[in-house]
């Protein structure tokens, strides 16, 4: 369980959110919704350790948890970025195996086997040797999901997973997220897409823009 207690974040005096508290149960899907500019992505960046909190605490299974400091090998939070940020010079397979090999010190064989398994699950098995520029938007997203999963995170976060996709692909993402839920993954989805949020969420959390 991830618990956020009275967290506050501001940029140069501008408060993004203040005294925000939130709990995410294991295996559930939390959707963070709200207008753009409301600080949804900032929340995700704080949880994944890309931004520092001003105040407040994060607890993971009851233990204080600092995603910035915990740079040891247990990858806790995985992130699927809005624009995916695949590494353009690496093949799909290399994109997925790079971090497990470098950060988790997995052997090449172990990493490749795990990656191929993930690719099969995400119906990308035939794309292993392609480069990101050869993939469609939906395929890139699934590679990004596979890359995050390869680090065996406890929680997987998505930033606007539907925004870069054709409407038809929304259902596909939904299916993947629900498939991961069935496998026990805890997931946080940041989205401005209300309808999508309602279809997948166990819990929704609305962030309102702060009055200054």
């Amino acid at each position: 369980m991830l618990e956020l207690k009275n967290i506050t974040k501001s940029f140069n005096q501008r408060i993004v959110w203040k005294n925000l508290s939130l709990k995410i149960q294991d295996g559930q899907i939390l959707c963070v919704v709200g207008q753009s500019g409301g600080g949804k992505t900032t929340l995700l960046r704080c949880i994944s350790g890309l931004e520092r909190l001003d105040k407040g605490q994060m607890l993971l299974d009851g233990q204080p948890f600092d995603p910035i400091a915990s740079r040891n090998n247990d990858a806790v939070i995985g992130v699927v970025f809005q624009d995916f940020q695949l590494f353009p010079h690496l093949t799909v397979l290399e994109n997925i195996t790079l971090a497990p090999k470098l950060a988790l010190k997995e052997s090449n064989q172990t990493a490749v086997e795990a990656a191929r398994e993930l690719l099969t699950k995400l119906s990308l098995a035939d794309k292993a040797d392609l480069y990101p520029y050869q993939l469609s938007g939906g395929q890139k997203q699934r590679v990004a999901i596979a890359r995050a999963l390869a680090m065996k995170p406890k929680i997987l976060c998505y930033d606007e997973p539907t925004s870069a996709l054709d409407p038809g692909l929304r259902d596909k993402v939904k299916a993947i997220i629900l498939q991961l839920k069935a496998a026990g993954m805890t997931q946080i989805v940041v989205t401005h897409d209300w309808e999508f949020a309602q279809q997948i969420a166990d819990q929704t959390f609305k962030i309102e823009p702060q009055k200054q």
Binding site: R71, F81, Q85, P88, A99, A103
Partner: protein, 213 residues
């Protein structure tokens, strides 16, 4: 023809000097340029200011002046170098500055999201630089680096000023001794051959990196 064969050995030995200056300068200035380029994009201001001053000095004064300064000037403050190391020292200092600016531009064109995705994947800073950033930067900077590499072949002719016998000097000596332009024409042809080979190699390098976009 006989005359050409007669002067060719001295031209070729000059060409060897040209190539050795070229080779060692590249070997030193490319990695140093990448490191200084990284420094120029760092957030540590005093450090960045020092590097900027260095780049300004090196790009703001003629290489010829720098050569003279290293070989004739530094001994006055008790730092004496032989001709050849002095030439390499000046060339590496100068070319590092140019390469650093090229690498800086390349580094700044990398999407910050690449660093962030490497970070959430738990790569360390140096792993990110080595495995993610450098390969992308190299592809971006290759055409500009290639330009400087071609320039370096011709700039190496400046070493005549501190008395090193390079290709141009060999041609010059023969021309004034035998009162003919033939050696200089040959010199031109040899330079053209060298740059032709480099152009070919550089194009191959660019092709090598064309497997991704």
């Amino acid at each position: 023809m006989e005359y050409i064969l007669q002067i060719l050995p001295s031209l070729l030995s000059g060409a060897r000097m040209t190539l050795s200056i070229f080779f060692w300068t590249l070997l030193g200035a490319l990695p140093l340029g990448l490191i200084v380029g990284l420094g120029l994009t760092s957030r540590f201001r005093p450090f960045k200011a020092v590097l900027r001053l260095y780049v300004w000095l090196m790009r703001g004064t003629p290489l010829l002046l720098q050569l003279i300064f290293v070989f004739y000037g530094l001994p006055m403050i008790g730092f004496t170098l032989e001709r050849y190391p002095a030439a390499l020292f000046a060339f590496i200092l100068n070319y590092t500055a140019y390469f650093a600016e090229i690498f800086r531009g390349g580094l700044q064109s990398i999407d910050p999201g690449q660093y962030e995705s490497a970070k959430v994947l738990r790569l360390t800073y140096w792993q990110t630089i080595r495995k993610i950033v450098t390969p992308q930067v190299v592809k971006i900077v290759l055409p500009s680096i290639g330009n400087e590499v071609i320039n370096l072949v011709k700039d190496s002719s400046l070493v005549y000023v501190i008395g090193l016998g390079d290709l141009l000097r060999a041609g010059n000596v023969a021309t004034s001794r035998d009162v003919t332009l033939v050696p200089l024409v040959l010199v031109g042809i040899i330079y053209l051959l060298m740059t032709a080979v480099l152009t070919f190699v550089l194009r191959k390098c660019e092709q090598h990196y064309s497997y991704w976009k």
